[in-house]
Every structure is written in structure tokens, then in C-alpha cells.
């Protein structure tokens, strides 16, 4: 491959320089003592551990600069273990560096490639084996074996079928039905438009049927954020405007990007921001994406009030909430 130009001569391994401890018995003795001191410090660390574990009260907090108020027992246990280990390490390394031989030695590499004769015999043995099995001569056995082996893999996949149910239409559905009351979360109290001041935000959930409990799977689809603006702030088409009520607009709180809770509302700009990937939605324009990776607005929930003045859903969500998926109707 490369035409090696005449290289410089290899001067060989540099001469070994003796350390102080190699030639001076006093220095060697000192190194020995240093190693012993390091090992003793390790033992002291373990004693600190034992003391901390058994004799420091669990609720004792001490103030340590930088760390602040710190649980004394956890700290003592931790430092005890740390010192117990560290000083064994320091001692061993110091020992190796000062007292064990430090003269570099040369070992030779063996060639990885096998001898030609071995390679030849290997090929012969492999061929003979295949010959004796008769795979080449008996294609019927070969083919049926491969077919059987291939099929035998099927159970390994099919057995996993019951890991979970099929999605069905569930991703397109939420608990919001026409007329579902908006209730506070937490608290589960129905709310009126007057409960929310202009500029205010509230998280709401669909009202539960009596005796039913709200699951995390429900919350992952049902969470809705209410924002109240002055009605003149909206820049919506007539239909979307009719989905609001007295300046209150409702969006799914589940990010249309990857499903995080869109929890940050900037009152001055009227933007909703998802803290996960910074998708930013403009509340005045039906949660239009104005920045970040999300490709869709947050689904808007049409709301109105019932006869008693409580906020209710005018209709279910008109699209699937949360992150996209293959079957999603856009």
C-alpha cells in the first residue's frame, strides 16, 4: 500500500531510571509507612461509617457551607464508605508506584492468523462434517429443516400478542361528550365563567359520573386548559369564536407534539409554551404553532354554559388529542 520512506532508526527502550525507594532503604521504609498510613485512613473511614449508621440520629440536620442543611447520618454514612474505599485505592496505587518494580518489560505478540496447515485442516474438517451430514446431497432435509426452523420462530412473536389490547378507536376518543360539565382539577367543582378572571388560566377535567374514579389514562387525554382573554383579543374565524364563551377558550392540555402537559402560559404575549420541547402556541389564534417542533395546534374544545350558568362542553373534541399517530385523521 505505502512505499515506506527510509525511517529514522529506533533507538530502543530508554534506560531504566531508578526511583529513590529502589536505591535508598530509608526512602523505601518511608514509602512503606505512607502506604500503611493510607490503609489506616481507610479503616478510620469505615469506623466513621459504623458510628454514623448506629449512633447518629436520623433526623439530625447540620449546616454545611455550599451544601446547606444536610442530613448528618446520610452524610456520615456516605463519607465513611467513600473514605473507606478511597484510601484503600490510594494506598494500593502508592504501593505500586513506589515499591513495586517499575521497569517496563517487553512481551511479544503472537500472530492472530492461524497457520496455513491449521486453516487447511479446519476447512477439510468443516467440509467433511457437512459431507457426512449430507446437507448438500439431501436437499429435502435441508429445505424442510429451514422451513421448520423459520416457522418455529412464529410463536416467539405471536406469544407477545397479549402484551396489550388493540388500539381500536380509543386514541380518537376522550371523556368529553356534548354537555359534559367542566370541573376544577383538583377539587372536581363545576365552574362558572365568572370564576375565571380575564388573564386567568385554569386546568379542568370532564365531570365524573357518580362513583367513578378518574384514571391516569383519562387524564392523559382529558386534561383541558381554560384561558380567559378579552373577547376582542381573539383572531378567530366565526366557528372557532363560537366555541369560546365570554372570552374563555379551552384547549387540550396535552401537547400535540409529544404529549407533555402544555403548562406554561405567558400572560403578556398570550402564548402557551410546552416545557418539554418549547412548542409555542398562540392562544388568540386558536393555539396556532408559532414556534418549536409541534406541527399542529392544540385541539380546541367547544364550550358553552348550561341553564345554571356552569361551563359545559358544546361537543366532543373534533380531532384526536395528544401526539400524532399513523391512523390519525388530520
Amino acid at each position: 500500500m505505502s512505499k515506506e520512506l527510509e525511517p529514522l532508526a529506533d533507538p530502543g527502550l530508554p534506560e531504566h531510571v531508578h526511583r529513590k525507594a529502589d536505591i535508598d532503604p530509608i526512602a523505601a521504609k518511608r514509602a512503606e509507612r505512607q502506604v500503611a498510613v493510607l490503609f489506616s485512613l481507610s479503616a478510620a473511614g469505615t469506623l466513621l461509617f459504623i458510628y454514623s449508621f448506629f449512633f447518629i440520629k436520623e433526623d439530625l440536620f447540620i449546616f454545611i457551607p455550599v451544601m446547606g442543611d444536610t442530613n448528618a447520618q446520610q452524610l456520615g454514612i456516605g463519607l465513611g464508605i467513600a473514605f473507606g474505599l478511597l484510601f484503600i485505592g490510594f494506598g494500593a496505587v502508592h504501593w505500586a508506584k513506589t515499591l513495586m518494580p517499575d521497569q517496563e518489560v517487553i512481551a511479544y505478540r503472537h500472530t492472530l492468523r492461524s497457520e496455513d496447515s491449521d486453516r487447511g485442516e479446519f476447512i477439510k474438517a468443516a467440509k467433511l462434517g457437512a459431507e457426512e451430514a449430507g446437507l448438500g446431497r439431501r436437499p429435502l432435509i435441508k429445505r424442510s429443516l429451514f422451513a421448520a426452523l423459520g416457522l418455529a420462530g412464529i410463536p416467539a412473536v405471536v406469544m407477545l400478542r397479549d402484551l396489550g389490547p388493540l388500539p381500536g378507536n380509543s386514541l380518537n376518543e376522550t371523556s368529553w361528550k356534548t354537555g359534559t360539565k367542566l370541573v376544577t382539577d383538583p377539587g372536581d367543582r363545576p365552574i362558572k365563567a365568572s370564576d375565571l378572571e380575564v388573564g386567568g388560566v385554569a386546568q379542568v377535567m370532564p365531570e365524573l359520573a357518580p362513583g367513578k374514579k378518574r384514571t391516569l389514562e383519562d387524564i392523559a387525554k382529558d386534561a383541558v386548559l381554560l384561558v380567559r382573554l378579552r373577547p376582542i383579543d381573539f383572531q378567530l374565524d366565526a366557528e372557532r369564536l363560537s366555541w369560546t364563551h365570554e372570552g374563555i377558550i379551552a384547549f387540550s392540555k396535552i401537547c400535540s407534539h409529544m404529549g407533555c402537559a402544555v403548562a406554561l402560559y405567558e400572560q403578556t404575549t398570550k402564548h402557551l409554551l410546552c416545557p418539554c420541547h418549547q412548542s409555542t402556541f398562540d392562544v388568540t389564534r386558536a393555539a396556532k404553532v408559532i414556534f418549536g417542533p409541534s406541527a399542529r395546534p392544540l385541539p380546541q374544545l367547544a364550550i358553552t354554559v348550561d341553564a345554571d350558568g356552569y361551563l359545559i362542553a358544546k361537543q366532543p373534541f373534533t380531532e384526536a388529542v395528544g401526539p400524532s399517530f399513523w391512523e390519525r385523521k388530520s
Binding site: M1, K3, L5, E6, L8, D10, P14, M67, Q73, Q74, L75, G78, L79, A82, L85, L86, G91, A92, V93, W95, A96, K97, P101, D102, E104, I106, Y108, L112, L163, G164, P165, Q203, L216, E217, I219, A220, K221, K253, I254, H257, M258, G259, C260, A261, A263, P275, H277, Q278, S279, V289, F291, P293, S294, A295, G322, S324, F325, W326, R328, S330
Partner: protein, 530 residues
């Protein structure tokens, strides 16, 4: 013979008569390992793995990997009577009601961060010094496998406590699975046992985290180390070091003491971190609920680049033939990582094809002597760094008083512009360093000592390098470009066609080097000077 020698002799005899181990031990106790600080990086990864096994086993004695709802009754007052999963409650129990439990949690988490940091540093060392070249390609691939599994294992680990932050991470993983075309929705329903979050995901990832992946890790690490052992370690070039030998210290006693001691140091430092540096304080986040989130949600550092990529993705989604494809998730979440990891795994073969180098290598490269590879490495790191920065854009924005938009746009442009720039700059720097090496060998070191010659001229005295130093700077083989054969003597076109052209081009770029000084040049110069 002392009593101790007699006992040791009896034990050795007993074992040897049953295993014949003495012959093997004789050879291997004297096995020589070359010495260099950068060879400790892989060691740190190995030791961190042991620490992870030990501390992780301790945690399993109390951790309850269940998503069943419980009401917290432990001693952490702010969350008293709060409804949460058993996983989260038992994590709080370990943190507040098990002596040393919090310490073990923190050691486990720190060890995971160190484990992956050490793997990445080790990978960089192996890459930049060309240690992955023949015959070590398999071990490189095993290493890439370990890195990939390490990232998955780390993610599963910090997902287990089921706190608000980890639940958000799972939510994002769920969205990535769901974005896979055709099968994504089904895969997510199978993985989660139904709709997100379900009650089965944490028990499932728990068994993967504590049994399946550690088992695979053990197997892969064993093979990784056996190959190092069998193929013998690479060494840095220098006087007396050749492709045919290994220069270093014997395993017994020097390496046993050094490596054994180093294990205790790594463990000790991890324990020290666990004792004084709090990490992943899950009790501050509260239990997971899909409707809440904490601002500044950040994954662990080794996932940061992925999160950064997802954050900077342009908002592209298509809806064709009744099906939605989220390119904004697919490209940064699956396609780019797939390309990166496949490319890394195949790199030894790509480089050998580019350079036409099929020979065995046991002497490491000095990174400057392989400008193309070094530049490629720095280019990849630059890409990763930009994505990592973007992964922390919210934190950077609040700390440096910038807007998220500024950082996002910097990253979106930077991720495309900066890596090629890094390539060019690195390559130039490498060539400059080669020029400097040449200077040093031919003209010696500048001493800063100025001398006025009798006729008034000033010169700076140059000090000649030692023979050892000169050899180190010139021992490498400089590659030659592969000549492009468009047609052979009979006028038959090269059947490789465009592939041969690409190879010739790449090998030419690969061979771009400053000619190293030869013995002849040096001799001529010497005879001229004196």
C-alpha cells in the same frame, strides 16, 4: 518451607490437579499491559458497571416496581397522604426511611452518569488513536453495542421512580414509539398494555432494567475483555515499541495493585459524590400525572443530544392517503440516531475501504497524523455538542438571559454549518501540527536563547531533540492515495466504476499529509550545518 507456603502450595495443587490452571496462570500472571492514562477510561466504565450492579442490587431489596395506587404514609411530610404509585412511594421510602438508602440511590445515579461518560471518553480515545483498526473491528462493534444499550439502560433506570420528571420522559418515549409508521400505534399499545400510561409499563421496564439488559451487558463485557486479553492491548508509539511487541508492566503485581486500587478509587469517588452531591431529588417533583409538568424538564446528559435534536426539528408532519407521519419526531428521534449509530459501528470498515489499508495495527496513531479521521471525529462531536446545547436550551436561556428562540435558531443553523467548519479547521490544525513535528525533528526545539555571531548576525539557538523523541515523531507510516484505475491494459473499464472513483477521491483526501522527515533529509541537514 513456611506453613503459609505449604498451605498455598496445597491449595494450588488441589486446584491444578482438577483444572490444569497452573500453565495458564503462569503465562497470564506475567501478561504485559502497556501503561497510559487514557487506557484507564475503559477501566472506569468497567468499574462503574460493577458499582451499578452492587448499588442496584441494594435498591431492589426495597424498590416496588408497581404502578398500583397507594397513599403515601412515610416520613417525608410534604407528600403525606398523597396518592401515588407504589414505585414512587417505595423510592421515597428508600430515600427517607432506609439508612443509607438515599446514599445508595445517589451512588447508583452518579455511577450511571460516570458509566456512560467513561464509555464515551473511552470511545473517543479508541477512535482518535485508531485502536479500532484491524484486528479490533469486532471489539469496536461490541463497544458501540454497549454504548447503545447503556443509553437505553440509563433511560429505563431513571424512568423507574415514576416521579413527575421520569413520567414525562416515558411520555416522550411513548410518543416516539407511536410515531413509527404503520405499526407505531400497535407497538405502543403492546408496550404499555393499552393506553398511556397504563399500569404495567414500569414493572415491564423494571425486569428489562435489572435482569435482561444487565445480563446482556455481562455477556458483552466479558467478550469485550476476552478479546482485549487475547489480542493484547494496543500501545502508543515510542522507542522500543513495535507492531510485534507489547511494552509495559506485568499483571502481577503492578497491574493488580494499580487496577485493583483504581477500582477502589472509582468506587470511592462515586460514593463521595453520592454523599455530598444530591442528584435526582425525586421527592421535589411529586408523583407523575399526565396533566402536570415541571419547568426545565431535562433528561440525563447522555439523552440530552436526542432531546436537543427533537427540540430543533422543524414542524413537519404529512397527511397522505389517510395516514399521518410525524417527521418532526421520526427524523430526530429515530432516523438520525439510527444513521449515527450504524455509521459508528461500520466506521472501521469504511475507513479501511477509504484508505485501502488492510494490515494489522497494534501501534496507535497520534491523532494529528490521521487528519481526516481526527477531523471527522471532531465534526461528529461538534454535531453532538450543538444538539446537546439545544437539549438544555431552556436552562441556558434562563441562566444566560437569552431567549429560547435565539438558542433554537443558533442550533438549527449551527447543527448544519458548524460540523463541516469543525472538519476543515481540525484538518488544518492537524496538518499544522505535522508541520511543527517536521520542524522539530529537522531543526530542533527553539530555546529562546539568542546569540550574536561575530559578524553581528543574531540567531536563536535550537536544541536538538533526543533520538527517542525524533523516533516517536517519525515512526508512523504515511498513507498513499489509491491510484484510480479507470480501465485496465486491455482497455476493459473498471467494473467498480463510480465506487472506484469515490474510493480514489476519499483515499486522496485521506493521504493528504505533510511529508515526514526521512533519515536522509536529517543526515543532509546535519552535514550542512556542521
Amino acid at each position: 518451607m513456611t506453613a503459609r507456603e505449604r498451605i498455598a502450595g496445597n491449595v494450588a495443587n488441589y486446584v491444578d490437579e482438577r483444572t490444569g490452571a497452573a500453565a495458564w496462570m503462569k503465562k497470564n500472571l506475567q501478561k504485559v499491559f502497556p501503561d497510559h492514562w487514557s487506557f484507564m477510561l475503559g477501566e472506569i466504565a468497567l468499574y462503574s458497571f460493577v458499582i451499578l450492579l452492587l448499588s442496584g442490587t441494594f435498591l431492589t431489596f426495597w424498590f416496588d416496581p408497581s404502578m398500583r395506587h397507594v397513599v403515601y404514609e412515610g416520613s417525608y411530610q410534604p407528600l403525606k397522604d398523597v396518592e401515588m404509585s407504589a414505585a414512587y412511594a417505595s423510592t421515597l421510602h428508600i430515600s427517607f426511611d432506609v439508612r443509607g438508602g438515599l446514599l445508595m440511590r445517589q451512588i447508583h445515579h452518579w455511577a450511571a452518569l460516570i458509566f456512560l461518560a467513561a464509555i464515551v471518553a473511552h470511545l473517543m480515545r479508541v477512535f482518535f488513536t485508531g485502536a479500532f483498526r484491524k484486528p479490533r473491528e469486532f471489539n469496536w462493534i461490541l463497544g458501540i453495542g454497549l454504548l447503545t444499550l447503556g443509553i437505553v439502560e440509563g433511560f429505563l433506570g431513571y424512568s423507574l421512580p415514576d416521579d413527575l420528571l421520569s413520567g414525562t420522559g416515558i411520555r416522550i418515549a411513548h410518543a416516539i414509539i407511536q410515531s413509527i409508521p404503520v405499526v407505531g400505534t400497535y407497538l405502543s399499545f403492546f408496550a404499555f398494555g393499552g393506553a398511556f400510561p397504563g399500569e404495567i409499563f414500569i414493572p415491564r421496564i423494571y425486569i428489562v432494567h435489572v435482569l435482561l439488559l444487565p445480563g446482556i451487558f455481562l455477556a458483552l463485557i466479558t467478550v469485550h475483555l476476552m478479546l482485549v486479553w487475547y489480542q493484547k492491548h494496543t500501545q502508543y508509539p515510542g522507542p522500543g515499541r513495535t507492531e510485534k511487541n507489547v511494552v509495559g508492566y506485568p499483571l502481577m503485581p503492578v497491574y493488580m495493585a494499580k487496577a485493583g486500587g483504581f477500582f477502589f478509587i472509582v468506587f470511592g469517588i462515586t460514593a463521595l459524590l453520592g454523599a455530598v452531591a444530591s442528584i435526582n431529588s425525586v421527592w421535589l417533583f411529586g408523583p407523575y400525572t399526565p396533566a402536570q409538568i415541571s419547568a426545565g424538564s431535562q433528561p440525563d446528559w447522555y439523552m440530552g443530544w436526542l432531546d436537543g435534536l427533537v427540540r430543533m426539528a422543524p414542524p413537519i408532519e404529512t397527511y397522505i392517503f389517510g395516514h399521518t407521519i410525524s417527521w418532526n419526531i421520526l427524523i430526530p428521534g429515530l432516523i438520525i440516531p439510527g444513521i449515527i449509530f450504524t455509521g459508528m459501528a461500520l466506521y472501521p470498515f469504511i475507513e479501511s475501504w477509504m484508505s485501502g489499508d488492510k494490515s494489522e495495527h497494534h501501534l496507535l496513531d497520534r491523532p494529528r497524523n490521521v487528519p481526516n479521521r481526527t477531523a471527522l471525529g471532531v465534526m461528529s462531536l461538534t454535531f453532538m455538542l450543538v444538539t446537546l446545547i439545544n437539549g438544555g436550551n431552556d436552562i441556558i436561556a434562563t441562566h444566560f438571559d437569552l431567549t429560547i428562540n435565539q438558542i433554537m435558531w443558533f442550533s438549527r443553523i449551527g447543527v448544519i454549518v458548524l460540523p463541516p467548519l469543525a472538519f476543515v479547521i481540525t484538518k488544518r490544525i492537524c496538518l499544522s501540527l505535522q508541520r511543527r513535528d517536521r520542524e522539530l525533528v529537522l531543526h530542533g526545539k527553539e530555546t529562546g536563547r539568542l546569540v550574536m555571531l561575530p559578524h553581528g548576525e543574531f540567531i536563536e539557538v535550537h536544541e536538538e531533540l533526543s533520538a527517542a523523541k525524533k523516533f516517536t515523531l517519525t515512526q508512523h507510516v504515511q498513507p498513499q492515495a489509491i491510484a484510480l484505475v479507470t480501465e485496465d491494459k486491455q482497455g476493459v473499464l473498471n467494473p467498480k466504476g463510480i465506487r472506484a472513483k469515490i474510493q480514489a477521491k476519499l483515499s486522496k483526501a485521506n493521504a493528504e499529509n505533510i511529508a515526514k522527515p526521512t533519515a536522509t533529509e536529517l543526515k543532509e541537514l546535519e552535514s550542512g550545518h556542521h
